[in-house]
């Protein structure tokens, strides 16, 4: 009697197909499940889940995830299984082989080990997933090992992104701190120089001018050429005092220290009035603010007014300063030609840089600055800062 010919519909073939599709589903489930968890779980939990999933996937009872950096030795960040055996497993971290390896250690606590490295985008290995079995089973097939490698690739990419993001955030914090120190140092220095100029050079010049005038008044009649020369000297001395005064005002306006933000901005607005623009205050408040807030908002207004004089071709400017218990808002609006905000930076580099500096000043106080503009539709600048918390740097 002959055995029946192999039938594709036979129970054996169906069972084999069923097993294959089951293991495909398991592979897919492993990757999809992990992919899902990547962005949802915190890193420590994610590592632990990956180790557990990997163990379950290849039916191994021990798992260990080790990571290292160029400056720090390997450390275990997730594990599954008993402590002593994991210690033994940890010894297998180092290996020159870049890809996954199936290793057998008969008569050891874990006779079977699967080693899958974690690689960064540039190819450097920065960790390893080690799986071990305390009982001997049949080795996983290549497709399963490939799936595990895909899993570690997913994890490695996510860890690397996270590391890069953290580095970027740290850098951002450093930059922000540096900008803060730069602004503070600049303002302190300006204030110091302004007060030094006021008490030193400017007073000496004023004294010199007065003495020269006293001298000229008591001088016996001079020949015409000498009299002319004396007049020139007097005019020069007078000019020096005036220039000194302007210099001091530019560095650190006394009005800001004496009368606060509203008056100081209003004095800056005199530059607009002198240029023939009309200025109106839609709202204002004379309440005093913390020193760093006053100077930051003043510099923002000053820069805004500079921009209007330089670029806007406006004939009217509306100013606003509202101060509530927890917020100060400064508004500078012109009716000039405006500009396209999305214009590339190179067409108007300095102006955009000025805007960035204004923005940075507002952000350092924990506030924000918005600038709205369109060609033909003026420019609206609004800086708003909280008052209860005095900025990110108390």
């Amino acid at each position: 009697m002959q055995s029946p010919p192999p039938d594709p519909g036979s129970a054996l073939a169906i069972r084999s197909q069923y097993r294959q599709s089951q293991s495909r589903a398991a592979r897919l489930g492993l990757l999809l499940g992990t992919g899902h968890e990547l962005t949802r779980l915190p890193l420590a939990q994610l590592r632990q889940r990956v180790v557990q999933r990997a163990c379950a996937f290849v039916a191994m009872d021990h798992g260990l995830l080790l990571e290292w950096t160029p400056d720090q030795p390997a450390s275990a960040l997730a594990c599954h299984g008993s402590g002593e055996r994991l210690d033994w497993l940890a010894r297998l971290a180092d290996s020159p082989v870049p890809g996954p390896q199936w290793l057998e250690y008969p008569d050891s606590p874990l006779p079977q080990v699967l080693r899958v490295p974690l690689r960064a985008a540039d190819g450097t290995v920065f960790g390893v997933l080690l799986l071990g079995n305390s009982v001997v089973i049949s080795a996983p097939d290549n497709e399963d090992i490939e799936s595990l490698q895909l899993l570690t690739t997913l994890l490695a990419a996510h860890l690397e992104n996270h590391r890069l993001l953290e580095a970027l955030q740290a850098r951002e914090r450093t930059m922000s701190e540096l900008v803060h120190r730069l602004f503070t140092a600049q303002e302190d220095e300006r204030k110091r120089v302004a007060y030094d100029l006021h008490d030193g050079l400017a007073q000496n010049l004023a004294g010199l001018h007065q003495r020269l005038q006293g001298f000229a008044g008591r001088c016996p009649a001079l020949p015409p050429d000498l009299a002319n020369e004396l007049q020139t000297i007097l005019a020069l001395a007078q000019g020096c005092v005036g220039e000194g005064r302007q210099l001091i005002g530019g560095l650190r306006p006394h009005v800001l220290d004496d009368f606060g933000l509203y008056k100081a901005v209003d004095k800056e607005a005199d530059r607009l009035r002198e240029a023939g623009l009309t200025v109106d205050w839609v709202e204002h408040s004379s309440a005093r603010l913390p020193g760093n807030t006053e100077i930051a908002l003043f510099r923002i207004a000053q820069e805004g007014i500079n921009n209007i004089l330089k670029h806007a071709r406006a004939c009217h400017v509306s100013l606003g300063l509202s101060i509530s218990d927890d917020r100060a808002a400064l508004r500078v609006e012109d009716n000039g030609r405006g500009f396209a905000l999305e214009q590339p930076i190179e067409t108007n580099g300095t102006r955009h840089l000025g805007l960035a500096a204004m923005q940075e000043r507002a952000i350092l106080l924990g506030g924000q600055l918005t600038c709205l503009s369109e060609p033909g539709d003026g420019t609206r600048l609004l800086a708003s800062v909280p008052l209860t918390i005095h900025g990110a740097h108390p």
Binding site: G217, R245, D280
Partner: protein, 222 residues
Amino acid sequence: MTSPLRLLLADDHEVTRAGFIALLAGNAGFEVVGQARDGQEALDLCERLQPDIAILDIRMPVLNGLGAARILQQRQPGIKVVIFTMDDSPDHLEAAIGAGAVGYLLKDASRDEVLDALKRVARGEEALNSSVSARLLRRMTERGASGAAQLQALTARERQVLGLVAGGFSNREIGEKLGIAPGTAKAHVERVIGKLGAADRTQAAVRGIALGLVAQPAGQWP
């Protein structure tokens, strides 16, 4: 000849006090009877010396010139106060007037200016630096005339929008004509209404036409 005007000079900078005295030197009409280095010392010396005029710097230790002026005005209203300062802001001038000063001189004033100011103050007149007071005046007139200022506040785009509002167009139509979203057009219209101080778009249109901001469309207005 009348007796010279008796002056008290207060400034924390020795060089400026000496300069001021040198400036007056040789002029028999004035005599500096006392010098103080801060506002408090100035008050004490005024009490003791009874000068005709106290010349005060603003920025002084212990008590500044404005504070000293205010106290002096209460205690010895007969003594005239002249502020002598580096600060050329209208706010400092306004504060000085508020504190009772009748003179405001900048430290780069010419000899004639100083002598003239002191004589005028002695006569009971005021002597305020003309360029600083002109700036103060301009601000004050501007505050009074803010209604007129608002008219100028419209941007080119807003004047365009106002023209279309006056033409009777809806926000959607304005948006289509200008190639902007209806929401943007609406925002423009609201801003125009706000800037003109109008209650609604009709009033804004009427005001725009009345103020000559909008050309009256001939065909539509019988």
